[in-house]
């Protein structure tokens, strides 16, 4: 079962940027790409826990600010020679509002 709740307006996330979203103890990073797609990943780099929301967004990826690991926004998988995966959450945009599937949070907790 999906449970969509609105979390912010699209315009509140800078294009090619991110916002940090706190869901209880869980920090989530909301990314907005150059083509206005939005993705949500856990705000913790699989490498050493770097805050992904502080990284640089490019294409469909974000580069962690600490050691430049590149993470695919869609799947949460680390790209290139490194290995790892960060939890991703379902989001959708409707009339400029970003919704997050809170049901998908349970599995991450």
């Amino acid at each position: 079962m999906n449970e969509w709740i609105p979390v912010t307006k699209l315009e509140e996330i800078p294009r090619l940027g991110a916002r940090k979203l706190q869901a209880g103890d869980l920090d989530i990073a909301l990314f907005r790409t150059g083509s206005d797609e939005v993705f949500a990943l856990r705000d913790r780099c699989p490498h050493r826990g770097g805050p992904l929301s502080q990284g640089i967004v490019h294409g469909d990826a974000v580069t962690c600010p600490l050691h430049n690991w590149k993470i695919d926004l869609q799947s949460g998988e680390v790209q290139g020679p490194d290995q790892g995966c960060v939890h991703s959450f379902a989001v959708r945009i409707e009339e400029g509002v970003v919704y997050l599937d809170v049901a998908s949070l349970e599995s991450a907790a």
């Binding site: 609105p6 800078p14 090619l16 706190q22 640089i56 294409g59 290139g80």
Partner: protein, 817 residues
């Protein structure tokens, strides 16, 4: 043009390294033929110890495979020693009867283990420790026999003993002196080493002089001068090496202990070069790879006919490659009369460190147990750095010396870019970090392949891994180079800058489009560079793109390892009032700032501020009259000043006042890299102006302007740009210099390498000689400052970019909906 013929004799580490360096410079100059006595392609001799200890396989230590020779069109003859050189005919002959002629000859015949000529030294079961064959002999013996004696308690002997022990043999080390590794260690360190090796099961016979090796068919024992004897099945002689000069000597080349060469690695016959252990240079011979690799570089430069390298000799340092033992030594570690020593001893932890100091400079170092700071001490030693200012804490290591504003967590993080990480190959931190970021390297093997760091003795592997794991600090973006900006394009930095101004590109999407960028919105390497280039080219029109800045510049603070930020308010020229201090103290109290520190640039740093608190902190500071100190950015950092003539009896001008004016002129300016200024009131130079990007030194008759300096471990002293007479000229020349750097340097290129790249004369021409050009630069700088001098803190305190500092919250949304 017909290619010249180059022959290399000696297929070992120094010779082949020379070829590698040569190929990098001039791949097409020579037809190259290599002759090696050993049946193997070039391998890493250093790693014979781990091979003996069973930690590595022979295949793993090959440095240049046969394919490498083939790919580089080098003809390789292995297992065929050269037996004669005919210098008149310029021909060599080999054992198998082959002959070949040369235009240039390179000798790299290495050295031979010294076998003490006692009776029985030629019995089966007596070996040196030099090549793969020796190791195979030892491993064979270990399979068949029980007991081994190693003669020589130096580096090589102990590594051999350790290896044999690992192979299950009962090993006794026989040493002539009462100190192990006496050429590298002092008494206390040697005692610690001996104790821990004994714990590992090695036995020692100290102060024992070998008189004869006993046996008939094969060695059965050793007899000493005092008449005592010991049974053994294997004797390893590791008492030293002798440069292998036989071939050169027979060819009539001048040899003493080694083949004598000059600073260009040429022998007395100008067509013949020599490198490596077989060489004697300025009366020194070397037995470690670091100096040999330096020789290789210089020699290659001359073989490539560039002719500007000079080899001036080396200072060496040593590490022992016995797993579980950390030991480092360099320089004159036994104090002479009048020297001071600093000693740290922690017997419980098995740590011992000693530094020998003369005239406030490190002359030697011995470390046991904790060798992490070895490379730092070694750097201080080689650069003869005056240590008086941090002498109190020097033994605790570099991490104890903070440069404020940087939260790097590890000691490698604290090292400067110029700090040498790999001593063997002379690779410094900056190179490694750059390779990691620009080439996208992620594994140790890749770093080794790209930089050679830790590819020789491997002692620095830990540090290289640490660097890989935490590529922190300023180096996490594109490297300045003549090559493409990054993988998204084939254009170089200069080409991109030119296109921005000629095609009037004023936004990033436009630039991506016109220059056919390979990615829709760049990558973390090019975006910050492009953002800066656009900003520098169109100060009035371009809108800064926060999403193309690294987090420190986006958040206007230095991110610390715990995710908190540090805040440095600007204090113009380092001057402040009691009210200023009170305001800072109030902020510190109100926000419970955990730590306050005065920075090297004469500012006050507040540590541990939470990101969410930043706008409120800035608001209070801003109301008290402070603006951002930009301690986090590729920007104008600080103007450091001395008290000058207002207070100091030596002062010639008002250095503090001038510093304030300079900082008022320049603050807020974004740069290709960080930029530091200083003003000293007289040549005593208390503000250290000669290691700044631009330093002013006041003299009676005016002001000297110095440029391109750099502090840090590897200091670059400034070059004198010119002398001017008035404060107004100081301001104008400074602004012109900064603007020239802003317009022409590559992103992430400090002034020091920039000045070296474009040459001092070029900068003089632009800033000093070309009067009209200088004025124009000055005007362009002032124009750009109109837009740059907007305090980012005040703006954010007043609500700009709130999204950066306020996280969203689900619970809040839920409550609202």
């Amino acid at each position: 043009m017909k290619k010249q013929k180059l022959i290399l004799i000696g297929n070992g580490m120094a010779g082949v390294r020379t070829l590698e360096e040569l190929l990098k410079l001039e791949a097409e100059l020579y037809d190259i033929i290599v002759f090696g006595a050993e049946p193997h392609p070039n391998y890493n001799r250093i790693m014979l110890s781990p091979v003996l200890a069973g930690e590595k396989q022979v295949e793993e230590i090959v440095l240049n495979s046969r394919e490498w020779y083939a790919e580089n069109r080098i003809t390789l003859h292995t297992g065929d020693p050269v037996t004669a050189i005919d210098r008149k005919a310029r021909q060599i002959t080999t054992a198998s009867g082959m002959s070949a002629s040369y235009d240039r000859l390179l000798l790299a015949t290495g050295s031979n283990p010294f076998i003490i000529p006692v009776p029985g030294h030629d019995l089966p079961g007596v070996v040196g420790f030099r090549d793969i064959q020796d190791v195979e002999t030892m491993l064979d013996s270990a399979r068949q026999y029980k007991k081994a004696v190693v003669i020589g308690g130096g580096l090589l002997g102990l590594e051999a003993a350790n290896g044999l022990k690992k192979n299950g043999m009962d090993v006794t080390v026989v040493h002539l002196m009462d100190i192990l590794m006496e050429r590298q260690l002092d008494k206390p360190a040697a005692a610690l080493l001996k104790a821990s090796l004994e714990e590992g099961g090695l036995k020692f016979l100290m102060e024992a002089q070998t008189e004869a090796i006993l046996g008939d068919q094969r060695v059965i024992g050793v007899r000493f001068k005092d008449g005592s004897e010991i049974d053994t099945d294997l004797v390893v002689m590791a008492v030293g090496i002798r440069p292998n000069t036989a071939l050169a000597n027979a060819a009539g080349l001048h040899c003493e202990r080694g083949i004598v060469v000059n600073d260009t690695l040429q022998t007395f016959d100008p067509r013949i070069y020599a490198v490596g252990e077989c060489v004697q240079h300025r009366n020194n011979t070397y037995g470690l790879v670091a100096p040999l690799f330096e020789q290789a570089k210089v020699c290659a430069n001359h073989l490539a006919q560039l002719g500007y390298g000079r080899y001036q000799g080396s200072v060496t340092s040593t590490k022992l490659k016995v797993t579980g033992i950390d030991l480092f030594s360099a320089g004159e570690f036994n104090e002479a009369e009048g020297d001071e020593t600093l000693v740290l001893q922690d017997p419980a932890q098995g740590v011992y460190k000693k530094l020998v100091i003369r005239d406030n400079r490190i002359k030697g170092a011995v470390m046991y147990g904790d060798t992490m700071d070895g490379s730092w001490y070694f750097q201080l030693l080689r650069e003869a750095t005056d240590i008086s200012s941090f002498r109190n804490t020097i033994l605790f290591g570099q991490h104890d010396l903070g440069d404020a504003g940087h939260g790097e967590e590890t000691r490698v993080g604290m090292l400067s870019d110029e700090a040498e990480i790999c001593g063997c190959n002379g690779v410094c931190k900056g190179e490694i970090v750059n390779a990691i970021t620009s080439q996208g390297l992620f594994t140790l093997d890749e770093v080794r392949a790209h930089t050679k760091a830790s590819a020789s003795c491997g002692s620095c592997t830990g540090m290289v891994e640490a660097l890989l794991a935490s590529t922190v600090g300023e180096g996490y973006a594109a490297t300045p180079s003549k090559k493409a900006v990054c993988g998204c394009t084939s254009y170089s930095h200069d080409e991109v800058r030119k296109a921005i101004s000629e095609l009037e590109l004023k936004s990033m999407p436009e630039l991506f489009d016109k220059l056919d960028w390979g990615t829709p919105d760049g990558c973390p390497s090019c975006r910050p560079a492009l953002n800066y280039y656009l900003l520098a080219a169109w100060p009035a029109e371009y809108r800064d793109d926060a999403q193309s800045r690294f987090i420190n510049e986006r958040a206007h603070g230095n991110i610390q390892k715990d995710g908190s930020y540090s805040v440095v308010p600007r204090m113009f020229g380092g001057l402040c009032s009691a009210d200023d201090l009170r305001a800072i103290a109030d902020v510190a109290d109100k926000f419970e700032v955990p730590e306050i520190k005065v920075t090297g640039g004469q500012r006050i740093d507040l540590f541990g501020v939470k990101k969410e608190q930043l706008p409120a902190v800035w608001k209070d500071l801003s109301e008290a009259g402070f603006v951002s100190g930009h301690a986090y950015g590729k920007a104008l950092r600080t103007v450091k000043t001395c008290v000058g003539k207002n207070w100091c009896r030596f002062g010639t001008q008002d250095s503090t006042g001038l510093g304030v004016k300079l900082e008022e002129l320049t603050w807020g300016s974004w740069m290709p890299h960080k930029f530091k200024l200083a003003v000293s009131g007289c040549p005593r130079n208390c503000a250290e102006a000669t290691i700044k990007d631009l330093g002013v030194v006041c003299v009676d008759s005016g002001y000297e302007l110095h440029i391109g300096g750099n502090g840090g471990i590897k200091v670059r002293v400034t070059d004198l740009l010119c002398k001017v007479e008035s404060e107004q000229e100081v301001l104008e020349y400074t602004a012109a210099f900064i603007q020239c750097y802003r317009e022409e340097a590559h992103y992430l290129e400090r002034t020091a390498p920039w000045v070296e790249r474009v040459s001092l004369n070029y900068v003089k021409q632009r800033v000093v000689e070309d009067k009209v050009g200088r004025k124009a630069l000055y005007e362009r700088f002032k124009l750009s400052q109109q837009y740059a001098q907007v305090d980012p803190w005040k703006a954010r305190a007043e609500g700009a970019e709130t999204h950066e500092f306020t996280p969203l919250s689900i619970d809040r949304m839920r409550a609202a909906s």
